[in-house]
Symmetry: C2
DNA sequence: CGATCCATTGAAAGATGTCAAGCGTAGTGG
DNA sequence: CCACTACGCTTGACATCTTTCAATGGATCG
């Protein structure tokens, strides 16, 4: 949906995607944040409402549960995880967010965030104040629709996770997560078969409703079958098709 | 968020909540559909865009997965369930919707519904075409915010379900579901401790990621502990506090 | 080099699933 | 009106998967 850039006026060369001065208009990720195309002037207007992005170090919080809701955040580089507290006070990872993806939408309902979002590695973030989105949405109907769609997509994704947790074995869950990361990488024109996991085994287990021991054992098993190569956080998928059939349970 | 009434001009007495001619303005459920209050004229405008509601019989579909997205639907009476297909083709119940609650928001993302929604018992539904919502949202900023909040609420609820499925035992899941229904009933000024479940054991198990045998055993166990009385679909909660501590795992 | 954190591995226990049988209620047809 | 059937629900015995507990290995950092 909205992709907001960190704008640093102290630098030059505005057309390099890595440059902090890059605008939403020439950001490499804008097809992800803005799945439907806006007019050039609308993108410029978006640019204007973007607040200064702040690079987060690993472990730093973007926001915490119960903080007042102010903004949506687009991940520009790095990765973050969202967590919420369960009834008994345990932490539950509700999602991992990679470059081009947007967090914070859960905060609207009660005007406070229900999740905490923390950097899994150094991450630069584009922040867009929601009141600006609301104002701009009234002027740009297609932007309003983008926001609706962005939230709707979050709903469908959460429902897919519900299905995953409700129906699947440990192997299916992990295969599905790996495929999800693989797909999201290839959308960003990165390798679909070779990548580094930004999250720990603990995070994976927490997210997938498994213990870290089970996560570890599944990785080992998939490696012994020759489907994966696992070296700490580095993953190489040797047999994408086989991983898919494990994920769907079609064996 | 939006509560839309079935309008039947052939009848009279517009102020009775059971009457089909009742308007959004005097519907008993409007504090649920419209969590924030709109101005009187805005509510009238809402009324105008509402399309004729259709009463569904048990087993009838409101819409099916892959149908083109057109509308949001508010449940006025009865109950429906939403289901989606998992990767391997199995059905997954993603939610139960009671009077005052809204379904269909997941359809926006891809302009097609990803869920199917079917009546669990005779249900009357208020339908609001989404293009009308979009147009009206531009004129009524608070309506735009209502829709955003409604979708955000669906996100937080789905994330709570994720937490439930990821972390909880069979007893916790069922206790939580019962408490959820209890709470939603009391919001509608119905009994929080004595009600009839609209869904089958199969649906409960499917939703909670359990087999029907496990669901049945948990009901039996809770009954033997004196916390519940279970008679097919009829539930009486004898010890709400104890049920709460089971749900949270605080025992 | 030692301490610490994260990950892996093994053995045993526990929870839920599977398979199978039986029960009750509701609906159907004689 | 009764018997029969079908369906949903319950219950038991056993199998399976994941967790729990415990120990070890390896990498990173001071």
């Amino acid at each position: 949906m909205i992709h907001i850039q960190v704008v640093d006026t102290s630098r030059t060369s505005p057309h390099c995607a890595h440059d902090k001065r890059v605008s939403c208009g020439n950001c490499r990720l804008n097809t992800l944040c803005l799945p439907l195309s806006l007019h050039i002037d609308d993108i410029d207007r978006l640019n204007e409402i973007v607040q200064r992005g702040r690079p987060l170090q690993k472990g730093e919080y973007l926001y915490r549960a119960n903080d007042r809701f102010t903004s949506l955040f687009a991940v520009r580089s790095g990765a973050v995880k969202a967590t919420t507290l369960s009834d008994n006070g345990e932490e539950q990872v509700t999602g991992f967010y990679l470059p081009g993806e947007v967090v914070g939408m859960e905060g609207l309902a009660e005007d406070r965030y229900t999740n905490s979002v923390v950097a899994l590695e150094t991450a630069s973030i584009c922040e867009i104040p929601f009141h600006s989105v609301e104002e701009l949405s009234v002027k740009i109907p297609s932007l309003q629709r983008h926001i609706f769609q962005l939230m709707s997509r979050e709903i469908t994704q959460d429902q897919q996770i519900i299905t995953l947790l409700s129906k699947s074995t440990a192997e299916q869950r992990i295969a599905t997560l790996l495929l999800s990361i693989s797909t999201r990488n290839s959308r960003r024109h990165l390798s679909a078969t070779s990548f580094s996991l930004p999250m720990s085994r603990t995070d994976i287990g927490n997210f997938l409703g498994l213990t870290i021991e089970t996560v570890s054992r599944v990785f080992t098993r998939l490696q012994k079958q020759g489907i994966l190569e696992v070296n700490r956080k580095d993953i190489v998928i040797n047999d994408l098709d086989e991983l898919r059939s494990i994920a769907t349970g079609t064996e």
